[in-house]
Structure formats: structure tokens, C-alpha cells
Symmetry: C4
Subunit: 283 residues, 4 copies
Amino acid sequence: MDNKTNRDWKDKLHEIIYEADTPAGKLFDLILLVAILASIVLVMLESVKSIDARFHTFLDISEWIITILFTIEYIARIVSVKRPIKYITSFYGIIDLLSTIPKYLSIIFAGTHALVALRALRLLRVFRILKLVRFLGASNNLVLALKASRAKISVFLFAVVIIAVIIGTIMYLVEGEENGFTNIPKSVYWCIVTLTTVGFGDITPQTPIGQFIASLVMILGYGIIAVPTGIVSAEYTAQNKPKEAPKDNPVHVNTQCCVNCLNEKHQDGAQFCYKCGCELHHD
Amino acid sequence: MDNKTNRDWKDKLHEIIYEADTPAGKLFDLILLVAILASIVLVMLESVKSIDARFHTFLDISEWIITILFTIEYIARIVSVKRPIKYITSFYGIIDLLSTIPKYLSIIFAGTHALVALRALRLLRVFRILKLVRFLGASNNLVLALKASRAKISVFLFAVVIIAVIIGTIMYLVEGEENGFTNIPKSVYWCIVTLTTVGFGDITPQTPIGQFIASLVMILGYGIIAVPTGIVSAEYTAQNKPKEAPKDNPVHVNTQCCVNCLNEKHQDGAQFCYKCGCELHHD
Amino acid sequence: MDNKTNRDWKDKLHEIIYEADTPAGKLFDLILLVAILASIVLVMLESVKSIDARFHTFLDISEWIITILFTIEYIARIVSVKRPIKYITSFYGIIDLLSTIPKYLSIIFAGTHALVALRALRLLRVFRILKLVRFLGASNNLVLALKASRAKISVFLFAVVIIAVIIGTIMYLVEGEENGFTNIPKSVYWCIVTLTTVGFGDITPQTPIGQFIASLVMILGYGIIAVPTGIVSAEYTAQNKPKEAPKDNPVHVNTQCCVNCLNEKHQDGAQFCYKCGCELHHD
Amino acid sequence: MDNKTNRDWKDKLHEIIYEADTPAGKLFDLILLVAILASIVLVMLESVKSIDARFHTFLDISEWIITILFTIEYIARIVSVKRPIKYITSFYGIIDLLSTIPKYLSIIFAGTHALVALRALRLLRVFRILKLVRFLGASNNLVLALKASRAKISVFLFAVVIIAVIIGTIMYLVEGEENGFTNIPKSVYWCIVTLTTVGFGDITPQTPIGQFIASLVMILGYGIIAVPTGIVSAEYTAQNKPKEAPKDNPVHVNTQCCVNCLNEKHQDGAQFCYKCGCELHHD
């Protein structure tokens, strides 16, 4: 009986933390989202010398509060799943751990720069909560259109890279090291900067023939920017037309998550996990 | 009887100032538009040192003329509505006041730089007159398409910001302060500059690995620029197709404005304000 | 009888020069196109100091040859029309004269720089021959789509300018003269550079708040670039759909040109000018 | 009989090298693709001074291995076709030779810089293998859409060049040599940089009137970028609509290649070359 209560309590916790169907679950996700964004703002502000100098103590305390919150959340996540090892070794389990420990490590390895990188990983956690976005429902067609055009855009971007390598090599030979095109990788970098119409201007062609080739590259880039746009447009138009959603590839809006195996893609109204058979929880 | 004449006169004034259905109303809007644009040009020219030095007196007098015109208009607007307080406290009421007083304030606080900001607010007044644009009728479908795609474009831009923060942090760690990436906010700024293909070139990656990441960011930016374009294209195509305008979300072309409550969204042919029941005026 | 022969000869000349229906007419247009392009290349090369120094005599002689060719053509055009005054005072008549005289003027006003501008006007003559393009037939739908979307794109560009002025003024106040935003027109120029994703980098925001606003402007620019693209896409799709060309607004492919009044928009198979009744010539 | 075996062996080799229908053929193409990409990476790394200094021996040996592999392949290609001369004088035959010999030539002409150009030609060989891409099948509609819009995009790009020349000349006259617009070709280069929204910033307008013209050019560029995008979008939508592929212009997916005349465009199920009547080989 005690065991039953214990399991119920764990189930409740699981529902709050892993799912977003209940008000409590949505609230938890919202608080977590705010905490993550706040922690990112902290990392940013700390990197600014002048701010860090003036508000060091405040930033330090805030960071500890965030770290403790993340620690509690991490423990709660481990406790509420049936197979903690599976969670700990999962992608988000590792991210959760890595985004919690930097502050603890900073006591041992004081002033290690690379810990900032670990803390920046926290942003990846946003994507877990973004299953919330699914509820917006608004962007479903968009997601489908992007899925449908993924292959074509990849082929296109691959072609862009090939063109950049060929033109980059030509520009290396034409302009040479004295005009900033010190080696082929740098020339290719310049070519990508130009082809994508970014145009930093840190390296620019100086010889007339180099400027002529650059002009061709720019006009080419101007012309081919039409390709990915055309693809997405057309796919999106295609997705929009049949008002009945395509059955074979629907965007998943159910946020239930199996307590046992952490599997997430359950059908609406599912009573049991379709993978391990473990019972799913409803309100 | 005298009261009746007085009301008629006010009604006439109201019709001229607030509506654009009558020739007089259109003329008033046109003059106001010219005055606003002229006042903006004045603000611009005054900010140019060399022009201000040579034509100071001319600019000063012109500014006084504009200010007096705006003052008269402001008083006329107050007089012609039934509830002046409602107009004065409304968004455009405040804008009208703020764009009128700078010149008066400049007598008291001579040479205060921030008054320029107040005068620049005048441009916001253009949007009030832009209800004129509705008569063009041409851009109705466009407005509908933009409304329909607003939510999706917001989601997209939010995703762009998240990507910029993640890549910005990575670039801060890779390039470091010696190459201009002095802190994370500045790195994020650089990343947005690059991702949107603007490419100022004030900060550029100097290390090979930094240039490689930059190349990926640029190609990514080149690829994802297709997304908002695709959305607007598809929505616009969708809006264009059914020649009968969608009934639930029509663009409003009636410019009548209630004398009593300043409400503007009246149906064509409406005799009374649908909010306060006050009679509307026709030619 | 002699008069008849004379008229026939003039008519023949008119057909060759002004129309492109006959082989002789097409050949004339082609030679003229080559001559115009060659003359433009000459103007370009002359402006390059090092080339002008080495090949001055060659360029000078070539320029004289082109000038004499253009003179002959100009006289032939005057002779072959019935009302020479009408041609001389027409848009292309003036362009033809202005693109012919610079070399003659250069004898009188030696070394006047502005004569280059007159010679550059020759490029405008290309557009007259571009009625040849109509024969390609390929771009008719495109032309229609552009015509249909002209009004909407104008409204859009007008909105871009308003946004640029408002943001430009804000940036002038935020960044100030010490960071390169010396006056409002320059700030607006910077804003247009940024909003259109050109990003020269000659002026860049230096303050954190300025960089933040710049980021918003860039993301905004990234978002709104979708609008003109969406418009053209949708219009072009719409133009493409009904295979029967819209009757009310057809692209004109007939190149006949009235000898009398220089009117050009004749229907296919027209025997007489629809404006002055003068007979049109066929092969 | 021996002759028969010999021919069979050659046929087998031909099928492996020139076709991609069999597993062996696909494997060969894959290995070749990897070898080409590896050779390109080698060329790139060699151009980087610091890497070349440290790993010169390794790069040199790798280059020799690649060269020998390419030599074997080149000989195999000559052996397996019936008319070696035709292969040797074909486009890809020359590319294959040119991308093989640089290392041999480097023994004779030690340190000749231009040999890098020859080695860079290897990238062109990728396109031969890219007939593999056809099997992806995904981009067929895209290829058709691009083919259909090629003519229109060419006309568009031609118009862009004309605009660039006219505006470039105007900017040369307005800004003059003291502001970096040293000659008309350079001005045209600047104009293309601006019109395509690349914006290097190596040359920027300094005079107010120049900045005003530049603003117009940028807004123009912003507006006309919509044109190629609209064309591709619309064409792609058009290609997507009729699910039955257009019969008159299908993308070729058959990779059979005639042993005799190297002709490649065979119909599926073809038994004999449609050009020379030579029998084709199947698995």
C-alpha cells in the first residue's frame, strides 16, 4: 500500500516533469523555460567585463540559485522515471547533467574558461520544452514543408559548397597571397562569404580580373538564392492545399511520455506505451 | 438654433479632420501629410552641421510655421470631438501633443538634444493618414497574407535568435577576445549580422576554425532565408485564389469616425456608431 | 514617278531602321546593338587611367568611328521619317543626339569631364533595341507578373523608407556623432544599408544598445525581404495558371512603326496606323 | 574464344567504370568520389603555408598515391572503351588527363604555381559521378523547374548588368576618383556589390548625393531580388502540380553507356545504342 502511494507520487512527478498535458506540467515547463533563459542571460552578462566587475557578487549568487534549481530538477527527473540509467545516458540526460555541474566544477577548477561552453549548453534544453510549440499548431504545415524540402535543400547546399571550392581555388590563383587570399581554404571562405551575399569585406579582390570574377560570383549568388526559396514556397503551397492533413506523416502533438522507457511518440488516447507496454497516465 | 449651428460646424470640422470620405477630408489629409513630411525633412536637415550653419534662420522659421500649424490642428482636433479627454489620452492624441511641443520647450530648455527624438515622433503621425492607403485597395490581399503568416514568421524569427545565441557563444569561445569577439552579447550580435547576410565586417573571424564555423553559419543563413519567403508566398497565393474575399477577416476601408467615442471600425452604410449609438455623418 | 521611287527608298530605310520584322531590320538592330555595347566598353576603358595612357590613340580613333556611325544613323533616322521634328523632339531622338555629339563637343571643350555622362547615355539606347526581347516571348508572363505586382511593391518599398527614417533617427540619438552617425540623413543611409542586408560596414554601431537595435533591424530586414518575393511569386503563379493569355493587358510583340507619327503599338496584321491612318509597310 | 573472354572482361570493366546500375559500378563511383574529394582536400591543405611546412612529406606521398590511382583509372577507362580516341578527346577525357598529370609535371617543372590550377580541375570530375544524384530522384522536379526558368533568369540577370553599368557610370561621375570610384569598371563592380546586397564595404560612397543614390540602388536591389525567386517558385509549383511527369522533357535516370560511342542517353530497357547500334550490356 505504501509502495502504491510511493508509485502514485512518482507517477504524479513524472507527469509534471515530462508531460505538458496537465496545468501543473505546463506550469513546470514555463518555470523551467524562464530559468533556462535567465541562466543564459547570466552567462552572457558574466562575459561582459564591465558588468562582471560591477555586479560580480550578484551574478555569482544568481548562478548558484540557478544551479541548485537545476540540481533539484535533475534529481527529480532521475527519481520519477522507472529506469534512471536510461534517462541519465539519454541525450537530454547528459545535457541536463552538463548544464548543472559547471558551477560545482568552478570551485575545483577556478577560472577555467571552457566551463562557459558547458553552461551555454543549457540553451539546448530549450528544445525539450519546445514540444510546447507543438500546441501552437500554427506551424505544422511549415514543419511538413521543411521536412519535404530537406533533401532538395541539402543537394542545393552541397552544390553551393562545390561551386565555392572551384571558384575559391580560381580566386587564389588570380589574386594571390599579396591580396589577402593567402591559401585555398581562406579563398573558399571568401567565396562563401560572397556567394551568400554576406560580404564582410575583410578580404576583397584587388585586381581587375579578380573583381570581374567576384562580380560574376555575386550575380550567380543573387540568382541561386532563388532556389531554396522556390523549393520551400512550392512545398509549403503544396502542404497548404489539401486541407485534410496528410495521414502518413503527421506532426506529433501528444506530449505523453512513458515512465518506463521514456518513449514519447504516443498516439492520442493511448493507454499503454506502444513500445514497452507500460501503462500511461492521464488526468 | 445657435447650438444646432455650432454642432453642425463642429461636425463639419470633425468630418474634415477625422474622415477621408469627402473631398475636403482628403485635401486635409493630403496637406497634413505634406506638412508632416516637410517637418521630418526639417529635422533631418537641422541635424546636418553644415546645412544648419548656413540656413539656421530659415530652418528656425520653417520649424515655427510647422509648429503653429500643428498647434492649430491639435486644437481643432480637441474642439471637434465630443469627448476631448478621450482624444487627448488616446495614442494619437499623445503623439500629436508630443510632436507639437518640442519647439515651445526649446525656448525654455535651449539646446536640449533629446527634443529631436520628440520631433522624430512626428513620423508616427503618418500612419494615421495611411488609412488613405486603404483606398488604394491594392494591398488588401497582401495585408491578409501578412496577418496569416505573422504567427509562423514570429516562430521562425524566435528560432533564428536561439540559433544566434548558441552559435554566438561558440564563436566567443573559439575566437576569443583578441579577435574582436570581446563578450557573448557582441558574439551574438556578430552572429545575427552574419546569419541575416548583412555582414558589416566590423568583427570578422580570424582563426581557421572560426572561419569554418562562419562559413557554416552563412550557408545556414542562405538556406533559412527561404523560410519566411516561402511562408509569405504560400499565404499570399492562398489569399489570391478565392476571388470572393474571406468574410471573417476583411480589411476595413470605411474611414468614418464617431464624433463621440472616436471609434473607427464602422460598417459601410452605418448610420450610428455601433459602440455608443451616436449618429455618424455622411455627405 | 521619281517621287514615288524616292518615297519607296525612304520607306525601305524606315522599315530597316525602325522595325525588326524583316531580316534587314533585324540585322540593323544587331549591328546597332554591337556598336552601342562597343561604345560603352570604350567609355569604360577610357576611364581606366593605365589603359587610357597606353592605348589613347586607339581609343580615340575607335571613338571617332563610333561617333561617325552614330551620326550616319541619326541622319538616316531623320531622313526616313515623314515628320523629322517629331523624331528629333522625341525621347529617343534626344538620347540619339546626346549620345552622338560628345566627341564633336570634345574638340571645342577639350577635357570636359561631364561629357562622359553624355556618352554613358548611349546605354539607354539599348532599351530601344530591346523590343527585340519581345520576340523571345519567354518573359511575357514575367512582365505581366511584374506589372501586376508593381503597385504592391511600391507600397512595400515606401513602408521600408518610413521604417528606415524612424530607426535612423533613433540610431542617431543612441549612437551619436562620435560613432559615425554624424547626422540623421547618414543614419537613415546606414539603416537602409542594414535593412536591405547590404551591410557595407563603413558605419557600424559601437554602443551595446546600438548593436541591440541593429540586431532587431537586421532580423526585421530578414523577415520583410519575404514580402516582395512573396508578391512576385504569387502574381507569377497566378499569371502562369490560365494558359489563355489575359486579353486586357497583352505584351506587345509587333514591331511595326508608323512612318508618319512614329506610333508603335500596332496590332498584328494592321494595314494602317491606328492613330494617323498612314499606311504601314509589310514585306 | 580467347577474344570472346577478352571482350567479356572489357565489357565487365566498362560496366563497372562507366555505369552505375550494378553494385560494382556503384562501389567504383563511390571510391572515385572519395578519392576526388581527398585529392581536393590535399590541394587545399598544401596551399596553407603552416600545414605544408609541417606535413610536407605526408602530403607529397598522399598526392603520389592519388595520382597513381587516377593513372590506373585513366588507363582502365581507355582500355574498356572500343574507341579510345573518342574518350581521350572527349570533355571528361581531357579533364581526367589534366587532373592526373600535374604531379608528373611537377618533377620536370618544380614549383610551378599554375599546376595547382590543373589539380583543382579534379573537382569537375565530381560532376561525372553526380549522375549518381539522379538515383536520389528527389530533385527531378527541381531540375525541371530550373530548366524551365533558365531563360527568364538569364534575361533578368542581363537586365541587372545593364542597370549596374548605368548606375556605375553615374556613381563614377558623382563620387569621383578621390572617394575610391577610380574608374567606371570599378564603379560597376561597386554597383554589383551593392545591388546584390553583398556590400563588401571596400568602396563606399562618401558624398551625401552618392549615399542617396546608393540608398536607391539598395532598395532597388532589395525589390528585384524578388524576381528570380518568384520565377523559380512559380515554375517549381507548376512542375509539382501535374503528378504525371511531363513526357517531353524527362530527367534521364538511365546510366547505361555505349561501349562504342560513349553515348549516354539510352532509354530504359534499350538493347542497342540508339546512335551507333552497338549492343548495350545488362546485368
